[in-house]
Symmetry: D2
Subunit: 319 residues, 4 copies
Amino acid sequence: MKTIGVLTSGGDSPGMNAAVRAVVRFGVRNSLRIIGIQRGYCGLIDGAFKEMHFPDVAGIMERGGTILRTSRCGEFYTKEGRAKAAEQLKAAGIDGLVVIGGEGSFTGAKFLHEEHGIPIVGIPGTIDNDISQTDMCVGVDTCLNTVVDAIQNLKDTATSHERAFIVEVMGRSSGYIALCAALATGSEAAIVPEVPIDWDKLASRLLEERKRGKINCIIVVAEGAGGAFHVAKNLQDRIGYETRVTILGHIQRGGSPTAFDRILATRMGAEAVKALLEGKSCHMMALQFGKIVPVPMEQVLKEKKTLDMTLYQLAHLLS
Amino acid sequence: MKTIGVLTSGGDSPGMNAAVRAVVRFGVRNSLRIIGIQRGYCGLIDGAFKEMHFPDVAGIMERGGTILRTSRCGEFYTKEGRAKAAEQLKAAGIDGLVVIGGEGSFTGAKFLHEEHGIPIVGIPGTIDNDISQTDMCVGVDTCLNTVVDAIQNLKDTATSHERAFIVEVMGRSSGYIALCAALATGSEAAIVPEVPIDWDKLASRLLEERKRGKINCIIVVAEGAGGAFHVAKNLQDRIGYETRVTILGHIQRGGSPTAFDRILATRMGAEAVKALLEGKSCHMMALQFGKIVPVPMEQVLKEKKTLDMTLYQLAHLLS
Amino acid sequence: MKTIGVLTSGGDSPGMNAAVRAVVRFGVRNSLRIIGIQRGYCGLIDGAFKEMHFPDVAGIMERGGTILRTSRCGEFYTKEGRAKAAEQLKAAGIDGLVVIGGEGSFTGAKFLHEEHGIPIVGIPGTIDNDISQTDMCVGVDTCLNTVVDAIQNLKDTATSHERAFIVEVMGRSSGYIALCAALATGSEAAIVPEVPIDWDKLASRLLEERKRGKINCIIVVAEGAGGAFHVAKNLQDRIGYETRVTILGHIQRGGSPTAFDRILATRMGAEAVKALLEGKSCHMMALQFGKIVPVPMEQVLKEKKTLDMTLYQLAHLLS
Amino acid sequence: MKTIGVLTSGGDSPGMNAAVRAVVRFGVRNSLRIIGIQRGYCGLIDGAFKEMHFPDVAGIMERGGTILRTSRCGEFYTKEGRAKAAEQLKAAGIDGLVVIGGEGSFTGAKFLHEEHGIPIVGIPGTIDNDISQTDMCVGVDTCLNTVVDAIQNLKDTATSHERAFIVEVMGRSSGYIALCAALATGSEAAIVPEVPIDWDKLASRLLEERKRGKINCIIVVAEGAGGAFHVAKNLQDRIGYETRVTILGHIQRGGSPTAFDRILATRMGAEAVKALLEGKSCHMMALQFGKIVPVPMEQVLKEKKTLDMTLYQLAHLLS
């Protein structure tokens, strides 16, 4: 292994830059050439390659987004697209690839490996925390803190106006962000794709709490659980007082990464290079029991991450 | 003047608590009784009164929202409602009233004064900065910083994905927040109620910038200028690349106030009490040339705040 | 077990309030009486007790410090002091005690248990992260983010002035905060109590990096590793250019807790009550492999937490 | 006027980058060549010049510090040094100079103008707010918010431990930051260079407040008023309870600028270029009555900024 390529793919998440920095610097320290690939799989197909040195990644760890840019690339999900990508890698002398992204990006990476034999190591970077085998993905901690701060702002207004707010947060198939945000802000309910909702029961609990004297009410809903307007429609008539909807949207993706995300990404970046050097061929770096370990990509992709129901019950018990 | 009432009314804005604290403490230091009125004009009509002392306002300056709570009270905009309010004030021995709120609240206050002779002093508290005669309203600076932080987050993602974002911010009749946020983030355009938009011209400018190599694009739009979806509809076909919409919503109202808002609110709170003691009968405290001065409420309500067109041109010139 | 007391002891750490809230609410939901004890062991000796209900802990999770207050209490480290404390507990009918604090506080708790048979469960709350058996203590994540933000500010100035900054952070016997902060900010060196420093080697590395074109330099030092002035004295002559010292001090203790700390504290608070209900008599709640588990206090106190040397090497390799 | 040079000098302050950006972009839009001068007057003497175009200042407005770097340059304060500087300017064809910095930098600029006839316009950039004729300097608002956030952190700990904190903030000859920070945090006292302190009176006030039940105490002291240890020494014996000292130091200089500082700097940058185009020869841009106006440098340098004693009294009255 002499030359390693690195790319970011899919939705950006805070900490991706720290991972890129670690791949570049750990690689250079181990006498490798590191090639930065622009705009994810699109740049891989187009050959948008540039060698990266130590100073190219100075001062990027604290910045959100990804300096390599990213994309969702339809062409890569065709056999022809991946064949082009493999040729580009060969032409540039790239022996191994680090892919920073989510499940969709890993599925593509696995095909590329299977069809063209290119060793690939993935780093889980997504704010959804919906990737199995790893306790945390790069970006989740930052996203969660952004959401918690935003909800704290809403609580000020909710209290002042004695209103209910319904806040929609990211999470297409995973309620992790919604649940943790509800737990961390003492919100009245988390509505997540993993757990069906009994609207009558929820409404009667909210009404009881109101009677008990609670003047504000925050309900956090994952986008994958139907969205905020869906919740508002189901609740408004049942509780009979004003609700307001806020969709946090893309502000959840950005921002300077937290210490946790910077460190997680840095460790995973270094370990990904090490894994390629040690001959791993199609793995993902995972955080397990506080350690960064390689897990076969196949295992990652065939299992689904589940929600911790203890946390779910705790959030509702303490609110 | 022995007893002064204080209330917050309309939409909450960060810094209202600092104003309440200053009214209470400056009043107490001047041997006045200060009565806190709950939930704005609703509480005024209902007699939801409570005397406030020094410790009642400890530790509130740093908190968003308003500990007195607030409301939009339809009944107060009837003659009968105001008559009830006047009786409540009389019964409680309240000789003067400090109203912290926006234009709507001041209109109500002026009627109360005219119909029942109660001395009233207003403190401009609204994130819209749409009140004439004063350079700044309490809450605007905090709101603007919240918006700037949110847009900074979006810029990370916009750059990573080479996308255009259309961000809707508060401002029903005023484009102040939208314009200042655009200026402070180097956004590509501010769309405000005060200035009509030539969509073709804007689109061709954006396309030119894209050709020049600019990979991200942020357009800030005030809710009163048609809203973000309206802008997206008008732009998308003309520029021919992906746009995303984010509506910042109620997170703009909350949050711990900035130093500026705390100090402005504190000064206005103290000066409002002083104005009542000096016999002012229907005035608003205004920031003019760095000083806090009383301005007749009539003058405040009959003029409309205008946008600084130099800033508007500057924002577009430098982006 | 009918009645549980809860206190915070030693240096405060962000998240203690979330732990108190969880103890109170989880206890109440399990039909227990929960008694809040003021000012740590001082209040335990004085009988500064107050029953706490659901609303008493509303809106405290987002606040730094501890609403129960805390102290370092010399008297409790005498047998007589602890005897008084035991009497107070008995008089108040308290059957079990939750102690939120660090190693010193746990040592005291263990004596109280051994001498008077009172069941005790500890929650590790300290920003030093120097408690064995648990991956993280409540407050560490918030502290680390505060430190990272402060160093980011210093980097702006260091770069602008082409200076070296020596930043002293908390950590008497543990270099955890210093090391993680260095890793998360890409600082040039972490100086920690656990690893002896070769000043000549460090200086020559810094000089080389300067030659290579690096214009700023940040060295993070744990207070327990000699402190910032000690480092400055040893480096200044060797590197021959201006260094500046900043001691972050007590700002590291405060601030609204991060999402991680709120959730960790909440889980530990609930699990501590559960452990007492299940008959645990002298344990500490620990975060192990992502789960909250009880560990015998004896084991916690006899082992010393070690620094992860992989992280230490990584920090210096990538800077 | 065809070519304008721009430099930053003295201590860096947040917002300097926004001023540089505005000078470059407003200049380019007006068909000027803009030359960036590195490291303040040192780079001016050395001829460290580089033409700057639109993209060179992209993405810098949100960053603290100054991309042009800065220095305190002894040589420029000699006639010979300034002669060298003038030659460099002539050689590079620079017709006018924008100097972003504080009083010391402006004194140097005035000499350069008087001795060599070079038109100069200053932009007040310093966190001390000690420059006359302008309501605010670039960087003050950001610094003040950083200080307020830090003090808020200390308050958490002060309250938890029932301690007094003495916080030293920037301000060699001006107490502006100390006073405004005290006002914005409800601190117990501001100790500033402009007002002598009666230690006995201060101590007895603090003791009274303690008796009244206030459990925390924050005293903010400007570095120019003797510093924190001086205050601690004078107070500790008189009040008889534990005080802690925190020196905020250089974290006050850095950080992403607030919206206010970005907008102020942007406006001043554009107006500085305009002033040079209009033939101003030795002026400073000032914020007066909400407008940016040129003021003769002579007038700026001969007057001393005074502290607003109304604010001083208000801070102590309301605490």
